[in-house]
């Protein structure tokens, strides 16, 4: 049934429908409502799970390591400083091939302290070996949560997934959402049946030690699992669409990209505003399109090149900054293109940092700059709405 609910509630409800055995929780804005709602669902008896309140995000993820290694399905959510505090455990989870699913309510990092949305937190964790899927709206965050478990727990993948949704913009919005049916989810998502678990009757060790003779192979297997996840993510999205009737794309999704001369590439909730901007620009005769990245890790280089190959120029808009270089998605796209025969200009914009609003006007400005870049790139990378007057 479609209902107007808070984004955090919708995601908590989706997590409940996946029947996790254990939910661990540590409050941090703007993620707190998600675990609060889960706590309520457990207290009300709607979710039969152990709800663990812990002393820090480090512990929140650490307990899930134990749960997952013992064969349980687990869930947590975090953001920003909380994700940063988990950093060490993030590698342990992926290295031990534990299919934990965690929502990241994307938020800026300190200092200076800022509780608002950007994607620096999950971008900063791009190399930890987790799959990262980004959501355009609340419905996609809901649907991706279910897909995430199916992807993560596939025996050929066995890799944790972060479901990224923009903090406040999606966690605190009220909008119409189709809430999931628990039984329908149970049909789609089989129980978690790992081949190897921690079992006192059959003792094994997880992640203990690998010397130089085997460590490379452990890393190779993770790398290979991500390559396999490229098709898995596509297939699970298709399968989901067949069952639930909703399709937000697999690795990526395109909007008005077929005949577009200028294509914007982005991730997350700004997609909606960009689609509005594109409709306006198209009405004026500017051929603009959009490619939305759903799967940032694994990075869909081949799929992306296929979508972008006919564009004259590409504008990457992203909510992160790699201080000392440029921004993450921009670098990834350039890297993907270097060994191909695609040679259109690619320019990048950091936008929406620390919650700065991104308006249609801002998108039009990026498109103007991209259009100008067809005649020669003036700047490869810039801050889209920099307030030079206060520098």
């Amino acid at each position: 049934m479609m209902k107007v609910v808070e984004g955090s509630y919708a995601v908590a409800h989706a997590a409940m429908c996946c029947s996790p055995d254990v939910v661990s929780a540590y409050p941090i804005t703007p993620q707190t409502h998600i675990v609060e709602h889960l706590s309520q669902l457990v207290a009300d008896g709607e979710l039969r799970a152990e709800f663990l309140t812990v002393d820090s995000e480090f512990s929140a993820l650490s307990v899930l390591v134990g749960v997952s290694a013992a064969g349980g399905r687990s869930y947590s959510s975090t953001t920003s400083q909380g994700l940063a505090l988990m950093y060490e455990v993030l590698y342990n989870v992926s290295g031990m091939r534990l299919p934990i699913v965690m929502t990241v309510a994307n938020r800026a990092l300190s200092a200076p302290l800022n509780i608002w949305n950007d994607q620096q937190d999950s971008i900063g964790a791009r190399d930890v070996g987790w799959i990262q899927l980004y959501s355009e709206n609340v419905q996609e965050a809901v649907d991706t949560t279910v897909q995430a478990y199916k992807i993560a727990e596939s025996l050929e993948i066995m890799t944790p997934v972060m479901v990224c949704m923009d903090g406040f913009i999606l966690t605190h919005v009220y909008e119409p959402v189709e809430l999931l049916d628990k039984e329908q989810v149970a049909d789609f998502l089989p129980p978690y049946r790992p081949t190897d678990i921690l079992d006192p009757q059959n003792p094994k060790t997880f992640g203990a030690f690998a010397d130089p003779s085997t460590y490379t192979e452990f890393r190779y297997l993770q790398y290979e699992a991500h390559l396999k996840a490229l098709s898995k993510i596509e297939n699970v999205a298709k399968e989901y669409a067949e069952v639930f009737g909703r399709d937000f794309g697999g690795l990526l999704d395109a909007y008005q990209a077929d005949d577009a001369e200028i294509i914007i590439v982005t991730m997350g909730s700004v997609v909606g505003t960009i689609k509005e901007a594109i409709d306006g620009l198209r009405a004026e005769g500017t051929k603009v399109g959009l490619v939305k990245i759903r799967s940032y890790r694994p990075f869909p280089a081949q799929a992306l090149m296929k979508e972008l190959k006919n564009a004259d120029v590409i504008a990457v808009i992203e909510k992160d900054i790699c201080v000392g270089n440029e921004a993450a998605l921009l670098t990834d796209i350039k890297a993907a293109f270097y060994n191909s025969n695609l040679r259109m200009p690619i320019i990048g914009f950091a936008a929406g940092l620390g919650g700065r609003d991104i308006t249609i006007k801002d998108i039009r400005k990026a498109v103007e700059k991209a259009s100008a870049a067809r005649k020669g790139i003036e700047s490869q990378f810039e801050f889209l709405t920099l307030r030079k007057e206060i520098l």
Binding site: M2, K3, V4, E6, P30, I115, W116, N137, F168, I169, H172, V173, Y174, E175, P176, S269, V270, G272, T273, K275, E276, D357, I358, T359, I360
Partner: protein, 179 residues
């Protein structure tokens, strides 16, 4: 699409008011969206919230800069916030105040509706929480959402006695601006 901006102070329920409009509009078979512009969430600090109502699914996520409607829950905000910033001239601003309208410093040409929502809230709820009362006024003055749907949204959010009191406050404000 109609865009609404709510001005209040932390603790007055401006965010809840926006959410209730979104719930009610959806009940009226329209698409809707509501979200807060969170600052530092202290009681008494100026806060804003936004709602959009549309006949088609809403994709835009930016804040509302050119609202069709502005609701001001606390008249003292007029001294510190440009509450009528960007308000469309064919739009409407609804202010909770007991001050005469000629004492309200506004720059907008939009229609001005005033009501003493605090008085209604004190009388009915016994507390100066005016968000639901203001929704009654919004509903009566704009007809952008139906009274039945606002009432349904309120009844879902506030149970029992509190729900009944809020429904009464809404009715009083609705009738006050409708006549």
């Amino acid at each position: 699409m109609k865009e609404i901006r709510f001005h209040g102070r932390g603790g007055q329920g401006a965010v809840t008011a926006a959410e209730l409009v979104a719930v009610a509009a959806f009940e009226d078979k329209k698409f809707s969206q509501a979200f807060p512009a969170f600052g530092v969430e202290r009681r008494g600090a100026p806060v804003m919230a936004f709602a959009r109502i549309s006949n088609v699914p809403i994709r835009i996520r930016s804040q509302v800069y050119e609202p069709d409607y502005v609701l001001v829950q606390d008249v003292t905000l007029l001294d510190v916030v440009d509450v009528d910033s960007g308000l469309k001239s064919e739009g409407m601003i609804i202010i909770n105040t007991d001050r005469p309208t000629n004492q309200l410093k506004l720059k907008t040409d939009a229609q001005l509706i005033v009501l003493d929502a605090t008085r209604i809230a004190m009388e009915v709820l016994g507390r100066p929480i005016v968000n639901t009362t203001m929704l009654g006024a919004f509903c009566g003055a704009t007809r952008e959402v139906s009274l039945g749907s606002i009432n349904k949204a309120i009844a879902e959010r506030f149970k029992g006695e509190l729900g009944r009191k809020n429904l009464l406050a809404i009715k009083m404000a609705y009738e006050r601006v409708s006549t």
